[in-house]
Subunit: 202 residues, 2 copies
């Protein structure tokens, strides 16, 4: 049974204010990644959109223990949303770890919710104008449309197996340099997205 | 101006038969990746769905020349949709290349089109039931809904810069082994997807 429009509107208002509160809370306790705050703040002030979760992009050492499908069995041994130094990665890698350790550069990821297909399409338009190729509408229900989009810059390689480091320092230095370059590109892509979103979503 | 339903239906029929022809042509000239043929054949026989492009997953050496955003400037120096041997990768890596060479394992990617939001939602449901986390509706227009989804198994690392190989043979052997394991997992995910699609899309 379809709800009356007013019920749908009320429900959307409730969802939006719940997510806006979560965002404000994350912001207050310093759990938001700096490069994505301004975009999320803008979205929280629009009438028809909210963010459910976001990451501005990061460089990590992931300690995969057991079944890699189960994220609960993986540990962020190192995580930073800004440029990294070779020395801190090398130091962290030499600390005690459990399973297979992966060095990764992950692009930004953003989840945006809205109330209608028409408004969800506007998100996709902004995304395309910003040159972002990965993402789309993930949930399409009456009154609840959730979108996800993600940058495409990525590095992902195994660097330690049990307690043996698999790569040479020189190679890791090179990889760290490329990871920083990719993070920089990722941040520029995020800025472009913010610009397009501000033009399109109101 | 919205088209009459009959016009939209005619248009959808035309789009679907055009894509079905492309698929049949690719199949006939041997350009379809074997592990995804059965799924694409099933889809081509449904009433409401078609595939626009697909890849079953692959292991590649990508020679990035110049601006990496521009795929035209990148060359597939090596490409295979099945398990690889260390020796063939090593041999290929030692051949002449131009720019930065990346070793990559890419997951499957599938583009499915349909005629309505309701039918697009069914695709998303199959995807979720098959445990596929990445993807969604990328185009949402009257009579034309395009979805994309992709596996999440991935490896991506630089292995050669201009003419210098950056990694040791021993490490590459290890990486090739992991890439094969990931390709195997990717194929199992694809099988699971095929099963769910056959249950849901008719």
């Amino acid at each position: 049974m379809k709800p009356h429009k007013s019920t749908a509107e009320t429900r959307f208002g409730m969802i939006k204010s719940r997510h806006t509160e979560s965002f404000q809370h994350a912001l207050n306790i310093g759990r938001m990644d700096t490069p994505i705050i301004s975009l999320c703040e803008y979205i929280s002030k629009t009438n028809n959109y909210y963010t459910t979760s976001s990451c501005s992009g990061r460089i990590i050492l992931l300690d995969m223990q057991g079944n890699e499908k189960d994220k609960r069995e993986s540990l962020f041994h190192f995580k930073k949303h800004e440029f990294v130094q070779f020395e801190e990665i090398w130091k962290s890698l030499n600390e005690k770890t459990q399973g297979t350790v992966w060095f990764k550069m992950d692009s930004f990821i953003l989840h945006l919710g809205t109330d209608s297909l028409e408004n969800a399409e506007k998100i996709i338009q902004s995304m395309k104008k910003a040159g972002i190729k990965r993402g789309g509408i993930m949930v399409a229900k009456e009154g609840k449309f959730l979108t996800e989009f993600q940058g495409t810059q990525t590095i992902s390689l195994p660097v330690k197996e049990k307690n043996t480091i698999l790569i040479e320092q020189k190679y890791l230095k090179h990889v760290v340099e490329i990871a920083n370059q990719k993070l920089e590109k990722n941040l520029r892509q995020l800025e472009r997205l913010e610009k397009e979103i501000k033009k399109t979503l109101k």
